[in-house]
């Protein structure tokens, strides 16, 4: 999605959490009620899951959703050089 703030991209750490729990894509997909291809597409960041699925994944690993998913601005990251690209939240 193109916005005035540049290209926004959802990044995730599902592969890391899957490795920590010694889970295959197939097992995780079965547990979440989706296809293995969907888990693969999310891990490759080719598909952004729905809020519902994102929460289901977070609940499954017993972590907060923001531990799994981050919403980054690559343009901002390149300009600032210091930030990890995470969007600043309103105070």
């Amino acid at each position: 999605m193109r916005t005035s703030m540049g290209d926004l991209k959802v990044k995730n750490r599902i592969k890391v959490f899957r490795a920590m729990h010694d889970l295959t894509q197939e097992k995780l997909a079965q547990a979440l009620g989706v296809t293995r291809q969907t888990i693969l597409a999310i891990e490759k960041e080719k598909y952004d899951p729905s809020l519902s699925l994102a929460f289901r994944i977070a609940y499954y690993f017993n972590v907060k959703i923001e531990d799994l998913f981050t919403y980054t601005n690559e343009e901002l990251q390149q300009v600032s050089g210091t930030s990890d690209g995470d969007l600043p939240w309103p105070k």
């Binding site: 997909a29 009620g33 989706v34 296809t35 969907t38 597409a41 598909y47």
Partner: protein
């Protein structure tokens, strides 16, 4: 509800139904009855649809729905354009060649083809309103 069918079993059913469709098609031609062919096709589709609901493995999720939705929308656009172009070129043929020997055949085809895009547009509009209602959009509250 318990599901009994494996993915390979489902593929086997598709194969058997396809084979039966060919036999029905051949039989329909032999007895010169197009209605048999149409009924056979509808029954085949119903069998495959019912069998699909019995597959044990997960074959559909939000991603496949998105893919199917996008592919269907794009297909609808292309088919609509092609059918409309064919229908309107048929109208042009009728108007420019009113006494052509093929005029009657062309006009029959054209009329049936003109109905198709009209029905598609009506169906699309109705479904568009249905899904807009289902997923919100008519509410005026803020």
């Amino acid at each position: 509800m318990n599901k009994h069918l494996h993915k390979n079993g489902f593929l086997a059913i598709i194969g058997i139904v396809a084979l039966l469709e060919v036999i029905v098609f051949y039989f329909a031609i032999t007895v010169r009855s197009p209605i048999i062919c149409a009924i056979g096709l509808i029954i085949g589709i119903i069998i495959i649809t019912l069998a699909r609901t019995q597959i044990q493995e997960i074959v559909e999720d939000e991603r496949t729905e998105l893919i199917v939705g996008k592919a269907a929308t794009r297909t609808l656009h292309i088919v609509l354009i092609l059918v409309s172009a064919y229908a309107f070129s048929g109208v042009a043929v009728i108007l420019t060649l009113p006494h052509h020997p093929c005029g009657q055949i062309v006009s029959n085809f054209t009329l049936s083809y003109l109905l198709l895009p009209c029905m598609m547009i009506l169906l699309y509009t109705a479904l568009r309103y249905y899904y807009a209602y289902k997923y919100g959009g008519f509410e005026s509250e803020e």
